[in-house]
């Protein structure tokens, strides 16, 4: 599904990712963990196609296609979804209109008919239950005045609506209390399927109690310094990042 090879990325001339190799297969859940400044968010943004990141070396192949050659909207239509760490407030743009435009853009790309108002609202009601979203959030502007938890839920709700093949959750757990975290995790878990891959980017292992990963990778100084199964995340929780980072530095 996703193959990252030797990926080097610079921001304003400074190298942030320094050779990432990562393969995620369909149906798998991978966690990317790491201390602040390790390059986690850069990885998420590069995969989603944000401007301002310069790929200096390496490749990213998604479903057999060159992901880096696509515009952000093409990636989204091809089934890549980024749940933002900081969902953006868009005053004046109604949440429902926005969602409908997004859903129909993706459907059109997949050769499906655009949904009419009735079918769309039916889908909305069904998917809102997944994250226990309140109705009135639909009538508001995108993310405007939403609490931190509501914003994150809205991200997962959008993910449910768009049914991506590859979902990247960028620090989706940050700023959530335990109840909100459970709701978000339940939402994510309900979307797990043999066709869908998940990349969970997080600083804390707490989220991984609820979204159980198949593989865990530790990112430090722009490289993956250690990979393992779920027990690696638990060990990080206990011992912190220091020891892995040091190991990585020695290996480099």
């Amino acid at each position: 599904m996703l193959e990252i090879r030797e990926l080097h990325v610079a921001v304003e001339g400074k190298e942030i990712l320094r050779g990432i190799d990562l393969t995620v297969g369909a149906g798998e859940v991978h966690a990317v963990m790491g201390p602040n400044g390790s390059g986690k968010s850069t990885l998420s943004h590069v995969l989603a196609g944000r401007e301002g990141y310069e790929v200096t070396r390496g490749s990213v192949t998604y479903a057999g296609k060159d992901l880096l050659a696509m515009s952000p909207e093409e990636r989204a239509r091809e089934g890549v979804f980024l749940a933002f760490q900081y969902p953006v407030e868009i005053p004046g743009v109604n949440n429902t209109y926005f969602l409908k435009a997004a859903v129909n853009a993706v459907r059109k790309h997949r050769g499906l008919d655009e949904l009419d108002a009735m079918d769309f609202m039916q889908l909305v009601r069904e998917k809102m239950k997944v994250v226990k979203m309140k109705d009135d959030l639909l009538k508001r502007s995108v993310n405007e005045g939403f609490s931190g938890g509501e914003k994150k839920r809205n991200e997962i709700f959008q993910m449910a609506m768009l049914e991506p093949q590859l979902a990247i959750l960028d620090e989706t757990d940050s700023g959530l209390d335990i109840d909100a975290l459970k709701i978000v995790a339940e939402g994510v878990n309900s979307l797990r399927s043999p066709e869908r891959a998940l990349l969970v980017v997080t600083h804390y292992q707490r989220l991984l109690d609820y979204i159980v990963p198949d593989r865990v990778h530790v990112l430090a100084n722009g490289r993956i310094v250690k990979s393992g199964d779920r027990s690696l995340a638990l060990e990080l929780e206990k011992r912190g990042y220091g020891w892995v980072v040091e190991q990585g530095a020695v290996a480099a």
Binding site: I90, P91, A105
Partner: protein, 458 residues
């Protein structure tokens, strides 16, 4: 072809051209004076004569005039607009259809080149104590009724003097004590073509008695391509009166528009002003509120959206003269192409106007590299126990917002369109009349980037 503004800026002496234009309008006054409304009354004649003399002395504002320095009047100086007399023929009803407020029953007056059309007007039934009619009729029949409000206390520019000298017609709305209009008053000012480009000189007078309440919509629209509108609306709100006032300027792209709204507010009166300037080659709007009674409240809400070589200039002025006054100012501008915007927001808190609470905000969105805006707050505060704030921004579409929309599959052009539309939303949402909101939305949507696609979304 260079625009006339550019030529003036590049060093041509504007004085000569503007002087020529002044002489032209003085000539027009001589041609028309005998047939202007109220010419049968000595006092009205004297007032008009005084005004044209003042105009002749003042001329048009020039680049050295502080409040006109960003707005060059080359377009007015170069063209010799014929001041419109009473139109010989009416306009067909079907041509009016596109300018009505859809689905909203209104007390409607229609003016063609500044003159009321009896055929197209439909004032409907007004409640007792309310009068809605043509100012020209009043000037002809009983000018004493309106004279106290007709003479401007001070002439701030030659345009006011020109208007006072040549005024043809306009609406006269009077609301007696406690009168509440359920339906909006809709005033449509339609400019039509003649053999030569026409000029309309419009004057509206709204006097709202104690505790009265109304909504008034002024729509400026054109069937002609090239014309010059010079309009003044004078509003008096007595104690406890409430007025929601709209000025929608949607004239053609070669139209010139200079207009003022002056409101005097009594104790505890409420004035909500909505101004939208969407058309015209050059549009200059002055909105001035004078809060002359304690506890008066004023909201100035406005939007300008220009493109090509359009030039729009808003000057607002709020005079807080008494304690406990509140003013809120929300202006937004969307500028594309090589357009130019000017916003000058003056707030003047007089000595003794304690507990004044004033906020002003002007936000501008530039859609192209060649668009420009000058925004300037002007606060003069002479009382010490007041709360006054102001803020102005000029910027492009937010890249984070753009990326967010694109990351959900919406293509870049549509995302730009959607964000541009979204930028104007809060201004529109402040407007109380649904039909006005719908009308403005449809105009805005039709002008944003990738309009076709955005129309399908919102």
């Amino acid at each position: 072809m260079m625009s006339s503004f550019t030529q003036l800026e590049s060093g041509a002496a504007p004085g000569g051209e503007l002087d020529g234009a002044v002489a032209h309008y003085v000539q027009e006054y001589r041609r028309l004076a005998a047939g202007l409304p109220g010419s049968g009354h000595e006092r009205v004649r004297a007032l008009r004569q005084w005004a044209i003399d003042r105009f002749s002395a003042m001329g048009f504002p020039g680049p050295r005039d502080e409040h006109w320095k960003y707005t060059r009047l080359g377009g007015i100086a170069k063209r010799r607009f014929r001041v419109a007399g009473r139109p010989a023929a009416d306009v067909g009803r079907e041509e009016l259809a596109g300018f009505l407020l859809e689905g909203t029953e209104c007390h409607r007056l229609v003016f063609i080149n500044g003159w009321q059309s009896a055929l197209l007007s439909d004032p409907g039934r007004l409640p007792e104590g309310a009068v809605l009619g043509s100012l020209a009729h009043i000037l002809s029949d009983s000018p004493d009724l309106v004279e106290p409000w007709l003479v401007p206390a001070e002439l701030r520019s030659g345009f006011e003097a020109l208007n006072a000298a040549l005024v043809a017609d306009g609406a006269w709305l009077y609301l007696g004590r406690g009168v509440v209009l359920e339906r909006p008053v809709h005033l449509i000012f339609l400019s039509v073509g003649g053999d030569e480009p026409q000029s309309s000189q419009v004057r509206n007078l709204i006097v709202a008695g104690p505790n009265s309440q109304a909504q008034v919509v002024e729509s400026y629209v054109s069937l002609a391509t090239e014309h010059f509108t010079n309009t003044i609306t004078t509003i008096v709100l007595e104690e406890g009166a409430g007025l929601e006032h709209y000025k929608l300027q949607e004239e053609s792209e070669r139209a010139l528009h200079v207009g003022r709204i002056d409101v005097r507010q009594g104790r505890d009166s409420r004035f909500r002003s909505h101004a939208a300037s969407l058309g015209g080659e050059l549009s200059r709007h002055d909105v001035a509120a004078s809060l002359e009674g304690e506890g008066a409240e004023c909201v100035l809400n406005g939007l300008y959206m220009v493109e090509g070589r359009q030039h729009v200039d808003f000057h607002t002025n709020v005079e807080h003269r008494e304690p406990h006054g509140t003013s809120r100012e929300y202006y937004k501008g969307i500028l594309g192409g090589r357009s130019r915007g000017v916003f000058n927001g003056r707030v003047h808190v007089h000595p003794g106007a304690q507990r004044t609470d004033s906020e002003q905000s002007n936000k501008n969105l530039l859609l192209s590299r060649d668009a420009e805006v000058d925004t300037k707050p002007e606060l003069e505060i002479y009382a010490d126990d007041v709360k006054c704030s102001h803020g102005a921004t000029v910027g492009q579409l937010d890249p984070d917002m753009l990326f967010y929309l694109r990351a959900r599959g919406i293509d870049e052009a549509a995302a730009r369109g959607l964000l541009t539309y979204g930028f104007a939303q809060d201004v529109i949402e402040r407007m109380g009349i649904e039909a006005v909101r719908a009308r403005l939305e449809s105009v805005i949507v039709s002008r944003v980037p990738d309009a076709e696609h955005v129309k399908g979304i919102v």
